[in-house]
Symmetry: C2
């Protein structure tokens, strides 16, 4: 403390404690193949963008980057809505932003719950004072349009939540026809696309989806930390007609949206400091999407999914999801055969191949493996590596020769 | 769409719209000297850490990084508390996390409000159902211990909020004696250190501060996106004794804290996907703090503050904050002399020198300039550049020769 002389009157300035001084040295990170449900490996071009120098959060070149992110999201969501942005946080921040803004206390939300994400939405919506209808279907299955229609007609909820890709079970929820029924019952359709966006078809406008959130770290190949979000015209109208203030300041779309230019030509006001490096990463991720094209991206995810299952099938492994039409292409769930130690297979994959293969989560814990084929990792070589890790692990246990 | 064949039954898959396809090309960023109130320029070593490959959010090497972040925060806060972490968002997320967890609906919070941050805390606390006492003092002044003591004794609030560094006015709030009075009235002391942490002395334990939040993008020289947070034992006890659920799932410290190991030896559970690259950046930022040492950091910030004011004084410029003991070292506020166009000085600094000098905000809009000397930017060469920009701008307007 010798050199510092501006201590405030009355404030004690004892000797500094070095008890917790650290860490030291330059960070080093081991290379891993993240073939679980996410985060997936980031594209090196996107990681490189994160080492670019910072800009101020209201500087014109930074606003231009935000504009480009919004444009890229419109293409990715296949929407003409001007109301796109990224929440300043991970996918959960996007989920909470959607719920906090769409539902007012006392309103009803029907939650299509077939895994961990529906359960989370129920929890969040309760915290925000909603009347929650927890609509359940067994793990490994999706909701039929009949089931959803009946629930919508019975409850006439303000919001229906569906998860397009349920990563805990590997289930794909079809959205066919749901948007139409929601319009009949005065319901806003909110869809979680965290592990599906960019990997499987989504047409927000054509399918009449009112609100969507996603994550950055799955098929978009960016690090976790940004949650893409879209509000359609009906969702935006609901936001503007709210009778109560959104309970979260940080996630209030009346304020965050303004910062992203939603109120143009009204000027943008400072709300919070935008996440500079993370927006660089998202801009780059969306440029890559735009350059590849969605049709090529979807076909690439489909091709590696097929490649994976050919290899798994040859080992005698079976999908957890019975109905082929319910199977998610991006996060693949595989039944653990009787007598096989699933955790040993995962541990061997990491130790010997640097490959992450995940176990189950929530309703599927101990029953399945989960293999993600997303974004930068949705490539034939990665599939071969995963298959090699399975083969080796299953041989060790005498399940295959 | 020719290649993709896995469309779900009934889902339409029209031709893709290229109306919003974009952006394209590799991102390029102009170099700027961010000498406003923040974000400040990031240390290149920290930016480089952000381009390291990703790890899974529950992988042991990633947990080790989180542990190192917690350790580094203990040194930075000068606390033995095990309850440190980073909120997965910008400084505002830290603010909202602190308020959401510390205050239950119906409880009283006294907010020391002498600028924009107190006003924000009032807004947030109201959204979380608190009874808010908005204690105000004129812009450019701090609260005396007498004023705070009187408010504490009158309201016996659950929480007292103070902002150590009010960046909208350049005021430093002394914490001398405040912790002792708070213990008498059963009040938790919550301090905002977003633009002061690492730049000026703070001894969380010695000064009896119960909860602190900060930001990554000021004196810590990292990008915005992580909010360092500390809960002392009393704050943690309050959290565990809450009668109501925290209204935000994303920011619920009962859950987020567990993910950071606060409940050890209980195992960590998945709560949300940690912000991989951002935690790398924070780990590296804290390693740099530890290597330099807090005493050297504080002395460095003090030295450039003095250097700045010697130069500004020679031009006849005056500090906005009258009482020298109230002046913040890190964000300096400068009165705009009569007849001088403040915005023209800022515009010239950016156009000619690539230097950001900011105007006022909230209560000081149009009256002051703000110059940040924080972290990587708290260096003599940067001060000279700022002074050159002021000299040039003031000459153009005939204020100096």
């Amino acid at each position: 403390m010798s050199a510092f002389t501006s201590a405030r009157p009355g404030e004690s300035t004892p000797a500094l404690s070095d008890a917790h001084r650290g860490p030291g040295g330059v960070l080093e990170i081991p290379q891993r193949f993240l073939m679980g449900p996410g985060p997936a490996n980031a594209d090196p071009r996107i990681l490189a963008a994160q080492s670019l120098p910072l800009l101020g959060h209201m500087h014109p070149p930074f606003i231009k980057i935000m504009d480009e992110v919004q444009q890229g999201l419109r293409y990715l969501f296949q929407t003409d809505s001007k109301y796109t942005l990224c929440a300043s946080g991970t996918g959960h921040a996007g989920m909470e932003m959607a719920i906090a803004n769409l539902v007012e206390p006392g309103e009803t939300i029907v939650v299509g719950n077939n895994g961990i994400w529906g359960t989370r939405v129920c929890d969040m919506a309760e915290r925000f004072g909603a009347n929650v209808v927890n609509l359940q279907t067994p793990a490994g299955t999706s909701f039929s349009l009949e089931t959803l229609t009946a629930a919508l007609k019975e409850h006439k909820p303000a919001v229906l939540f569906l998860c397009q890709g349920e990563s805990s079970t590997g289930v794909h929820q079809s959205l066919a026809g749901v948007g139409d029924v929601c319009r009949e019952t005065g319901t806003l359709l909110l869809v979680d696309t965290v592990c599906s966006l960019g990997g499987v078809p989504l047409y927000a406008d054509e399918w009449k989806v009112d609100a969507i959130y996603s994550g950055s770290q799955k098929c978009l190949s960016a690090p976790p930390g940004a949650a893409p979000l879209m509000f359609g015209e009906r969702a935006q109208a609901k936001l503007k007609a709210r009778k109560t203030k959104v309970r979260s300041y940080y996630l209030d779309l009346n304020l965050v949206g303004n910062y992203w230019g939603w109120d143009a030509p009204q000027p943008r006001a400072y709300h919070h400091t935008g996440m500079t490096s993370m927006w660089y990463a998202m801009r780059e991720a969306l440029a890559i999407v735009s350059e590849e094209g969605l049709d090529a991206m979807w076909a690439r995810h489909e091709a590696v999914h097929k490649q994976l299952w050919e290899g798994l099938g040859a080992m005698g492994l079976q999908p957890f999801v019975q109905n082929p039409a319910d199977r998610l292409l991006t996060v693949n769930t595989i039944k653990v055969p009787e007598g096989v130690d699933w955790a040993a297979v995962c541990a061997n994959a990491m130790a010997k191949f640097n490959v992450e293969i995940a176990g189950g989560l929530g309703p599927t814990a101990g029953q399945i493996w989960r293999v993600g084929l997303m974004g930068y990792n949705a490539r034939p070589a990665n599939v071969e590596l995963v298959l090699a890790a399975f083969r080796d692990g299953l041989k060790q246990q005498g399940y295959i020769k």
